[in-house]
């Protein structure tokens, strides 16, 4: 075992699988599929929730990158996603935010613009959600909203 670690340390190319054969890839593809099925069946709801939240965080961060010029991401899409990851009922989301549920539903459907109160409460809610999960600057909600407005202008 020690000699293997030593080998690792003297190698500067730590792996290279560009030259794997098609047969190898096919055989491994089947094994990977089986491993995935087995693992998916054992995933806890907490882990799935965590993955959904981190995926949302990554997508929100990506939407602010300068090279991101398309409108494939929007504030409303992110808000809908955030709500659906955490709540099955938007009225409970509104209650947790201390926001009028009719207003929140209208925002989620794009019929109303989010106001400062909603943005502030959403940022606080997000900070609390991600607190023990992963580093996340919750004020990104405000950045995404203002960037969207700027693009429209």
């Amino acid at each position: 075992m020690k000699s293997q670690v030593k080998d690792f340390e003297i190698l500067y190319e730590v792996m290279d699988s560009r030259h794997a054969t098609f047969a190898d890839k096919l055989a491994d593809g089947k094994l990977i599929l089986e491993a995935r099925k087995k693992q998916m069946a054992q995933l806890s709801p907490e882990l799935i929730l965590e993955a959904g939240l981190i995926q949302l965080k990554l997508q929100m961060e990506e939407s602010l990158k300068p090279e991101q010029t398309t409108n494939s991401y929007s504030f409303i899409n992110f808000l809908q996603e955030y709500s659906s990851i955490l709540y099955s009922d938007t009225d409970i989301f509104a209650k947790d935010l201390s926001i009028d549920s009719t207003f929140l539903n209208k925002v989620l459907e794009g019929e109303e613009e989010p106001n400062d109160e909603l943005l502030t409460k959403l940022i606080a809610h997000t900070e609390h959600t991600f607190k023990n999960l992963i580093n996340f600057k919750a004020a990104i909600w405000y950045d995404i909203y203002t960037q969207e407005k700027t693009r429209k202008v």
Binding site: F8, D16, S17, R18, D28, I32, Q39, L47, Q55, N135
Partner: protein
């Protein structure tokens, strides 16, 4: 690092992973380069596929145990793989 996105399988397969000469061995300049590169691939898998994200690679034989011990990867034929629990663990460690 070079990786391919195997979209139909919601998987990222790392084809090449290297570190420069000055960053290997006991007198390396920076530590954790491989871990950070793996974490980047894991992050892309999670970004693209959420809880279905998966990462695989085919390591040199003598490095298999190293990847398994250090990054919790597991054997799937000639490749090593990581699913959601390992991806999240790696992201938390290197984010």
């Amino acid at each position: 690092m070079s990786f391919e996105i195997v979209d139909v399988e919601m998987r990222i397969h790392i084809r090449l992973l290297t570190s420069s000469r000055e960053n290997v061995g006991k007198s390396k300049l920076y530590d954790g380069i491989v871990g950070n590169l793996l974490a980047y691939a894991a992050q892309r898998a999670l970004f693209l596929y959420g809880n279905m994200g998966f990462v695989s690679l085919t390591p040199k034989t003598q490095l298999v145990s190293n990847y398994m011990d250090k990054y919790n990867m597991y054997i799937t034929g000639k490749t090593l793989s990581m699913g959601l629990p390992e991806i999240l663990g790696l992201l938390k460690k290197y984010s």
